[in-house]
Symmetry: C2
Subunit: 138 residues, 2 copies
């Protein structure tokens, strides 16, 4: 008689005490790898936290471990986005909200500066034209 094959299903378990799934710690390792890539090649990356099986407790745990940095950015564009530096320079906690203030997505961005903060050359060109029109009135 052959050995009985017992299929093992890995089930994501949430601790009833802490609400943690154990999915957050591997993210810290991934962030460390992404920081290395940023330093070595300037490659920027983002982790979409909304797409991962993370509980609010996981997100709190992650936020606590990453800490808070000196820079806080807000961007107003059909809802408020916040892009906060963590205590790990180069790691930014990005939260997008809709017009009602509800969180629509959350990312961890690994970059020297978040991409959304950079002015685009085309917009700069447009702004300069506007300024020139203003100057024509003096």
């Amino acid at each position: 008689m052959p050995f009985e094959v017992i299929p093992i299903h890995v089930v994501q378990t949430v601790s009833s005490e802490t609400g943690l799934t154990g999915n957050a710690p591997p993210l810290l390792r991934e962030i460390s790898e992404l920081l290395l890539r940023l330093l070595e090649s300037g490659e920027i990356a983002a982790i979409d936290l909304s797409a991962l099986p993370l509980t609010p407790a996981d997100l709190d745990w992650l936020q606590d471990r990453l800490g808070q940095g000196e820079i806080a950015i807000t961007l107003q564009a059909s809802g408020e986005s916040t892009l906060n530096e963590t205590a790990c320079p180069g790691v930014w906690w990005v939260t997008h909200r809709n017009e009602n203030g509800a969180v629509t997505s959350q990312f961890i961005e690994v970059a020297f500066v978040p991409d959304l903060v950079k002015a685009h050359p085309q917009d700069v060109e447009w702004g300069r034209e506007r300024l020139e029109l203003l100057l024509a009135d003096f």
Copy 2:
């Protein structure tokens, strides 16, 4: 008898009605030139407003003309600094305050992104080492 030489002194006059000196409009022209340089060569520049003979009314006039953009940045480091995008993308209004909240200096920075917002590679390296130490505990 030779012509009498009458020395002409240009005196900065402040309008008693508006408080304006007339020194602000030429700054708009300078900003437009700096935007052109930014677009053409990527050169960044800053105008130290504290070093110029500008009245509070001049500063208000300038701020009104430049308008308000979508991005507001605060930086906490021995006093709060604010780096606010104007309605002219690439033009940032930068205000540094001391620990008591008093303004210590004001700049207009012309750059795709203000220099102070960028994480320095050395700090990123240091942050990654801190993260690795944290990971060693799991």
